[in-house]
């Protein structure tokens, strides 16, 4: 049991490195990452799990960091956009987003790219409908989505070609 205003220690792996940080139970994962660990890539937008701007991967699965409590990642492995960008193996995905002009204001981009990564991890050859279906939980207000779909298709294709 943890008392209100008492803190609990969250020991977890973030972007390949082990960390330990103390948080209160009601602290949201996105705030622990942004304010506690200065990983500002994840953004708070709708704050209701609808838009996906706060998407991070927990054990490879995308979650809404605006609502998932920070204590839920104890013992787990978290990937934020900072980890993705530093990973050479992800260059195909980041290049595809950039080359296809799938980034405009960029506020949705960290969450969008992480969601796309989790899609391709699960389904390396998604059809256009499968992309739209999986990604429908990530909102973009700037691009109109078409170039993001094209970016994901290109990343999938390039991965096949090696």
């Amino acid at each position: 049991m943890v008392q209100a205003n008492q803190k609990l220690t969250v020991a977890f792996n973030v972007n390949g490195g082990d960390v330990e940080i103390d948080v209160t139970p009601e602290t949201a994962l996105v705030d622990m990452l942004r304010d506690g660990l200065l990983l500002k890539g994840a953004k708070r937008s709708c704050d209701m799990q609808v838009c996906g701007a706060c998407t991070v991967l927990v054990d490879g699965l995308p979650v809404s960091a605006c609502t998932v409590p920070a204590f839920e990642v104890r013992g787990k492995s978290v990937t934020t956009i900072e980890g993705l960008a530093a990973d050479d193996r992800m260059a195909g995905l980041t290049d595809a987003f950039i080359d296809n002009a799938a980034i405009q204001c960029g506020f949705c981009t960290p969450g969008m790219v992480l969601a796309a990564k989790s899609l391709l991890d699960r389904n390396p050859h998604p059809s256009e409908d499968e992309i739209k279906d999986y990604m429908r939980g990530n909102i973009c207000r700037c691009t109109g989505y078409k170039k993001i779909v094209e970016a994901i298709q290109e990343a999938a294709q390039k991965a096949v070609q090696g």
Partner: protein, 285 residues
């Protein structure tokens, strides 16, 4: 969000004992996809949350003897991708696939969804179609009720404050019965869900189950509509129309952001017919 105390029991007994102690100040917490949202906006407030995810007994999805068992900790994603569900009741997987979005599915639980009883939702209406039952634990023992008896109204269940739903047991549709589930809506949450399960012999409906979700205040079996179908000819369009009409009349829809009650009743008529058609076609294949 207001501060809360976190309780992390490791057994079912510890869980219900803690709930009992906390009374109105405490609430069970699994995925939190509905609960934490309500707490963030201030609609609900609890001093203590009791985490069920630290209780190993509540884990998992399994299959045995014609029944799928979904533990209280199982997320929508777990159910969606479960080999047992895909093998024995793929309809459940396909409906779970369309719940909210992938992030909510990765965190939210099926049992949690039933217990929060958000009216605009699909799992309740779907599990009602299967005649699912839930097992409930409390300090005084265990009991079981149907999903129909569990969810009594919008955001309202028949659970006492110290009760924990440990699992939901989903009997497969009897041999010869085929199910379909159609949902309609363009908002983040569904406007209408219709579940239909039918068995057909010699071109006549033998057994029929019809459930509605999202339009009525709670997931509802439409028994009066089912009654006109039983024994009727499958290819008589008038029968399906009549069933739809009765279901619409009985569905108790209200005006809300999803539309007027009149429009929802109209949708019920349309989708009852479509769901019946689809269920019948599944049987034909």
């Amino acid at each position: 969000m207001r501060p809360f105390r976190l309780y992390e029991p490791t057994t079912i007994n510890e869980t219900v004992a803690t709930l009992s102690e906390l009374g109105d100040d405490g609430k069970l917490y699994a995925g939190g996809t509905e609960l934490l949202l309500a707490m963030k906006t201030g609609l609900l407030q609890y001093d203590g949350l009791v985490n069920v995810k630290t209780v190993p007994e509540l884990e998992g999805v399994s299959y045995s003897n014609g029944t799928l068992t979904i533990g209280a900790r199982a997320t929508h994603s777990t159910v969606e991708h479960s080999a047992d569900v895909l093998a024995h009741a793929p309809l459940i997987s396909s409906v779970e696939h369309r719940v909210a979005n992938v992030r909510v599915r990765n965190v939210g639980t099926v049992v949690g969804n039933l217990c929060f009883a958000e009216p605009h939702s699909d799992p309740g209406a779907l599990l009602l179609l299967y005649g699912a039952e839930v097992d409930i634990a409390s300090p005084s023992g265990t009991r079981s009720v149907s999903v129909e008896q569990l969810v009594v109204g919008p955001y309202e269940t028949s659970l006492a404050g110290d009760e924990l739903v440990t699992r939901v047991r989903v009997p497969l549709l009897p041999n010869g019965m085929r199910g379909a589930y159609l949902k309609f809506g363009y908002h983040h949450r569904p406007t209408l869900g219709v579940g239909a399960a039918v068995s057909v012999t010699d071109g006549k409906f033998v057994d029929v189950r019809l459930t509605l979700g999202s339009a009525p205040p709670k997931p509802t079996r439409m028994r009066d509509a089912e009654a006109v179908l039983r024994g009727a000819a499958v290819d008589d369009p008038a029968v399906a129309i009549e069933a739809g009409r009765i279901a619409a009349e009985d569905c108790d829809a209200i005006d809300d952001l999803h539309g007027s009650a009149e429009y929802k009743r109209h949708l019920v008529q349309v989708f009852v017919q479509r769901a019946l058609t689809e269920a019948v076609e599944r049987g034909v294949k």
